[in-house]
């Protein structure tokens, strides 16, 4: 139902593009991304901040987009999986590493996993195994048993380090 009278304007930068949206007080960042901007790579798995499928970067930090009200993202910089590829659509080393390590099964948790990995490697380019486990502990995967994901993170870290 439309409650135009309750709507407020928010603006944010999503994947480098400035956007504006009219949102209700209860509208979540996830709804803006998926329903207004049609950025469908960010997934909804549980709606209570447990599964991490909706993980995005907000001002450089990982958040569950289902737990962030759109109003509180006003003025924020957001990065979703759609912003991870290079300008010509080339894969980021993390994305390539996920493919190469067999870390992609059904693919539903993958966008959130890649965002959490990106956040980890930005802060800590050469994480130890327990740091990888800790950094991804908010992203549930039911397919892999996680070991191939750990391998992907180590592989991405090595390749990004070599490149530098």
């Amino acid at each position: 139902m439309e409650h135009k009278e309750n709507k407020t304007a928010v603006s944010m930068t999503v994947n480098g593009k400035h956007i504006q949206a009219e949102v209700l007080p209860e509208t979540r960042l996830l709804d803006v991304l998926r329903e207004e901007l049609h950025l469908l790579g960010t997934k909804e798995g549980c709606s209570i901040g447990e599964c991490g499928a909706c993980t995005v970067l907000m001002n450089g930090r990982t958040v569950n987009a289902c737990m962030v009200l759109a109003g509180s993202a006003d003025g924020a910089e957001i990065m979703t999986i759609e912003g991870v590829c290079g300008p010509e659509g080339e894969l980021h080393p993390i994305q390539q590493a996920f493919i190469d390590a067999g870390a992609v099964h059904c693919g539903f948790c993958t966008p959130g996993m890649i965002i959490s990995t990106l956040s980890l490697l930005m802060k800590n380019p050469q994480p130890k195994d327990d740091q990888i486990q800790e950094a991804l502990s908010g992203n549930l995967c039911r397919c892999t048993g996680y070991h191939q994901i750990f391998k992907a993170v180590r592989l991405a870290s090595e390749r990004m380090h070599r490149k530098e």
């Binding site: 798995g45 549980c46 209570i48 800790e134 549930l140 892999t144 048993g145």
Partner: protein
Amino acid sequence: MQGTYVGKNCLRVDGYEKVTGKAVFSADFRMERQLYAKSVYAPKPHIRITAVNIEKALRIPGVAAVATSKNVPGANEMFGRFPAFADQEAKYTGDVIAVAAAETREAAEAAARAVEVEYEELEGLWSLDAAMQEGVSAVHPDVPDNEIEYTYFPLRKGDAEAGFLQSDTVMERSYFVGWQEQAYIEPESVVVSPASFHHGYDVYGCIQNPYTIRQNVASVMGLHQSEIRVVLTAVGGSFGGKDESVMNMAARCAVLAKMTGRPVRMDLTREESFRESSKRHPFRMNYRMGLAQDGTIKALQTKLTCQGGAYNNKAQFSNWRAVVHTAGPYRIENITADVHAKYTNTIYGGAYRGFSGPQVVFASETMVDEAAAELGMNPKDFRLHNVLREGDTIACGQLLKEGIIAAPLQKMIQELCGMADFDAKWNSFKEHNAQSKYLKKGIGLAVTYRGAGLGGEGVDCSSAMITICRDGSVQLFSGHTEMGQGMRTVHSQIAAEALGIDIKRIAFKHSDTSVTLDAGPTVASRGTQSGGRAVLHAALKLKDELLRGGEKKTGIPKEQLDVAGDSLVKQGGEVLCSFDDLVGYCVFPLGLNLSAQGWYSPGLSHIDPETQQGDCYQTYTNGVIITEITVDESTGKITVEKITIGYELGTAVNPDIAYGQLVGALAQGLGYALFEELEERNGELLSANFDEYLIPTTLDMPEVDFHLYGSENPEGPYGAKGIGELGIELIAPSIGNALYHAVGRRLRELPFNLERVKIGKALTR
């Protein structure tokens, strides 16, 4: 076997879409003018419905229609007694009485809330133990004893009573396991639209078994199967689960699509998914084992009772699997086993990876460990003494013979226990535990064999189609479905291997029941073993046609030609022309048909219904696990430190994908063992999301030392066996056995959560 593609770690063919967020899952699939649907669930788990008033709901702005059983054009009841809409009675918490469709999600939710259901509460059968009592109420009036139809199976081998008389020791134990939720990260979602170009309806969604959905939607709509088209989106995990729930959703949305003439979508919340999707069946498992003083198992009697829930369309299959596997991989000459299933007014059991395997393997591998302890034997030595070997017959009478059905377990137990240093740790942990006040270490062993494929559960037939386009590119269709397991990649490898072409030529196409051929459900680890054979069949037919074209083109007899390395070659390897040129010549001037259907069926198994003696499965896979744990006696917390595991699976078509399947299954088994528990109270589900129902995270995974064992399987494509389920079975009993080693406490119920470990029983909230 090692080929150009088979046996190689080819990368996933659907990896790019999935790492970029471009893969279209069901919730991402949008249609013009789509309506949003919301279900009205039973307000209490067991009620007589006296009135349903939809007037208020219809007055909510944006509401297009509200459907109840009155709007169903065909049959309201689907396979397994599932009602499209509960009518006179709701039998469990997930029954749906009405569904509202509206322009927005919010309007649909408001309308669902505004539907008024008048009802009388009824007594219910809330648990398996309640249903096992005499003289209780009937969930379905025409089934007064609540025994689910066609779920009783006896297994008889030798003479169990005589075996018990020859035994020195007879032990009786009872085991129980509860529900387990598949917990795919993508909740169910479907969109149903009036068909674009013909009479009927199109169903889109995350669906495991499209032909089952087609059959049931057709029946509810009063249409023919040919008038229903089911198209898969990307599927975000299923593990057996996206079946009954999506069938019900698709049927309800189809009714609304007919009422409104518009596409209708339904996306379940996680809570709704928990409420109305199937679960792993609970089992009560009573074991009686007769033992000779030298450690030989002389006789086994088991009585297994499965909880089916309010409706059932799977226990007749999973119960058969349960009874056939109840004895475990041991040479036991005398076996009597019986399995039953009961209706209850609760959530229902269906398919979940492993089917009934994890339940009976938990019981049998705990029982075997208890037997070893009773006799004062090392559990490894006890298993080595009794485990199946070449020349033995298994519980259903099949002979183990090299080249037909492998018997690798004795060797695997010895080798893997060696790698895990089992004997040394068995002793050193005991010494450690004598010194340590709270932190105790334990090591546990478990062993399994598992019938791969459908076997006697049903008729197994698989389909595939391959079409070579004029430019030499190749389209591959399978009657089976990709849910994340890697089937598209494995099938592409098999097709590329057989055709002798570059795998990059192959585009794996969507599952669409208007195009693909009915291959039955993608279950029972049959996607590679049986589906792969159909791909191979199609590829070999096509290759024969290509070589016929090659003979015309070159004048060389086709018996001396081959397609290899993406070229037409002469025997000996001389390249005659490129694959593109060969295809071009076959198209023009020859006009050959470069399309082929593949079909594979092993045929019916021959099994005596009174004893289950017969060729139950085409082949069996095998596994051995050694698990090391630390138990904190002050809290009851179990930490799994290390797992050494070995699986025998014939040829691994793609070893990386096989590893991913087996370790992924291991993680699900870890959750089943340690913390996955669906709490209920009088039919209400108390665990309905990932805050209450915990599944393993990155922090729960132990170190895994992983080993693959090969064997010959003449039935599988390039010797492959189905392995999707094997990995989930072993970890629960191995942790229980390690716990006993660590603290001397034997737990006979799952999960081994803090309270069970600490005080030996479950607590209720």
